[in-house]
Symmetry: C4
Subunit: 205 residues, 4 copies
């Protein structure tokens, strides 16, 4: 059993989740107070949340791509962890929408930010579990061995990537804006080429 349909199904779910994000950017009602310009400007949290979520899901997709690249066979364990990953990605349009709706509300602002950054943290953890599974069962899934030291190094590196999301969750009760900014900084860091690049061979395994 090869990875092609697993990739196709994952690509489908990720592509849909990322495209559904736009449904959260609403067209202002004609005739609103202050005119269209102000109404559009007022919903900047929606744009910010859209971009951060879009880029984050895009980076997860790139990493997912790299992780499955050399997998030759999928087994039940991989299918189930992958399904859990897709379930988590599928929730992001909701948490993004929540963040956008509450970022400027006095009540609920902090909880929304915690749910938002928390959903990225959970996503990161599930992705870590997927990578760990792929690395642990490498001989079975890849027809190749992996040096245990390299494996530990890869996993340590990926676990490190979870720290900023944990910080964003911790920051949420203090400032929803700071929490969003941390999530945005992580997305920017991974999108820019360089050390943090998910396509560098060590990170991608």
């Amino acid at each position: 059993m090869t990875t092609s349909r697993t990739e196709a199904f994952s690509d489908g779910v990720i592509a849909i989740a990322v495209t559904l994000l736009v449904l959260d950017i609403k067209v202002p009602e004609p005739g609103a107070h202050g005119g269209l310009g102000r109404a559009l400007a007022d919903q900047w949290p929606n744009y910010a949340a859209y971009v951060v979520s879009f880029v984050t899901i895009g980076i997860i997709w790139i990493n997912h791509h790299h992780t499955l690249l050399r997998v030759r066979r999928v087994d039940q364990g991989l299918l189930v962890i992958n399904l859990l990953l897709l379930l988590t990605i599928g929730v992001l349009p909701f948490t993004t929408s929540l963040m956008a709706a509450y970022l400027r509300e006095d009540e609920g602002q902090h909880l929304a930010a915690a749910v938002y950054s928390g959903s990225f943290l959970v996503l990161g953890c599930v992705f870590f579990a997927l990578q760990n599974y792929v690395l642990s069962t490498r001989r079975r899934l890849h027809d190749e061995r992996i040096d245990p030291a390299l494996r530990r190094s890869i996993l340590r590196r990926n676990a490190t990537g979870l720290i900023p999301y944990a910080l964003a969750v911790v920051a949420a009760p203090l400032s929803a804006y700071a929490s969003l900014a941390i999530c945005g900084a992580v997305a920017l860091y991974y999108a820019l080429p360089g050390e943090g690049s998910p396509s560098s061979s060590r990170a991608s395994q």
Copy 2:
């Protein structure tokens, strides 16, 4: 005529249906009584229905994958049964939404649960028909024969998988919660590795 486009189209419909489920988790209106925390907690039926439906559709996808894996050719009969399967999967975002909206209502609770578990039962029946068709026409579609005893064993096993859903439909007039719990237990049972695993070779044929 090979199975690749049939798989691609099915993957597309299943991926979309599973991702549309999230549209049913609504962002609470800012300023609601009791605050955001309570509003989020109050919609736990939506989360439960989301998870149960997502995992169930995911398992159907895995089984669909296995069923078509060794099919070499598709014919008109297979295309039509597959289309019927997709039509049933396409309805699940509606039945999931119905379950979530009515689980805690006094009126309609039992009917919603019956419709919800009933949609899984119908899905199971259509999937059974698909498997039966693939097994019955194996020589034509697979370029290989199948031992009649093995075929009966596979079909009996798959028919057995319909019993819990029938029970969930029967339980709906008594308790909507019990009905949902049965559907959730089935999803969990198939997702966990072991005897019930849909990827075990006998079940997957």
Copy 3:
């Protein structure tokens, strides 16, 4: 330039259009007069329109599959006609929704039925144009010749398939129900195996 990405893109659009149809089946508001059972029963036009549209789009997909099956190369003309076909398919969730909303209204019933069956007629015409293009440029696209008599026979057969939709448009001002019934009968006719089967070799070219 091969057909694979054209097929993938078409499969994507068709799969999404067919799955979006379910958004038109609404969950009744809790507490509506007469209870959930009656509310669900009252929206039978939505179910009927869902099934007719789903099966029709599914059959178009099967035919699209057959038409592109032996095409070896795509050119600009094919891409543009295919895009027009997808544009027409993309409109069907709207026309389906219109039909469902107005089938039982005194005012608008006939117009909605005309728009609904008319969208199928336009779809059929665009599909005919696609087939005609593929057949006319067969030598260029297929690396094979086609007998002119066979080509005329195939096109005549496919043009004949447009007649019922023209009838459904004509019937709309008389009875919206009759118009919907004709569309449903066409879908059923093509879905059932036999003479009308789109997978029969002559029809599929």
Copy 4:
């Protein structure tokens, strides 16, 4: 790392964005003043914006197809620029909806047209960046060299394609209708076969 999953993911996002456009064509409320016919006629801006956006996204897809056709490997830079392209395409259902909602409003009409044509201009610029990247790194990505004069000629040609969108943005404060008409004319120009055809070999590289 090959382009296949990048193409699949891009196809998915583009197909979904193009299909979501239809959600903007609303079914008029039964019982509206003037009847269904008038209500349908009144929302012609929605139809116009739907067609213009659908065709434009379709042409971008065709061009995207051509651009990646001979790319043998994807690198991090290509993935990130492609992600940015998809992010821009993902926004189009919103800008299309905005255009449709405000085209006939006295207030907001011009701003909506500027945002709409501006989103096409940004899309064109990001696509230009993608093409430039692919051409500049051709030796690495394609296993072939490109004549610098040909590369300049291709890029100049593609940059020229941005001029009408810049004009449409400039025209927006004067007339929203003119701005939409320019966008529509561009879509028509590229869809029709001939000089402007995106599949002509020079334009597509």
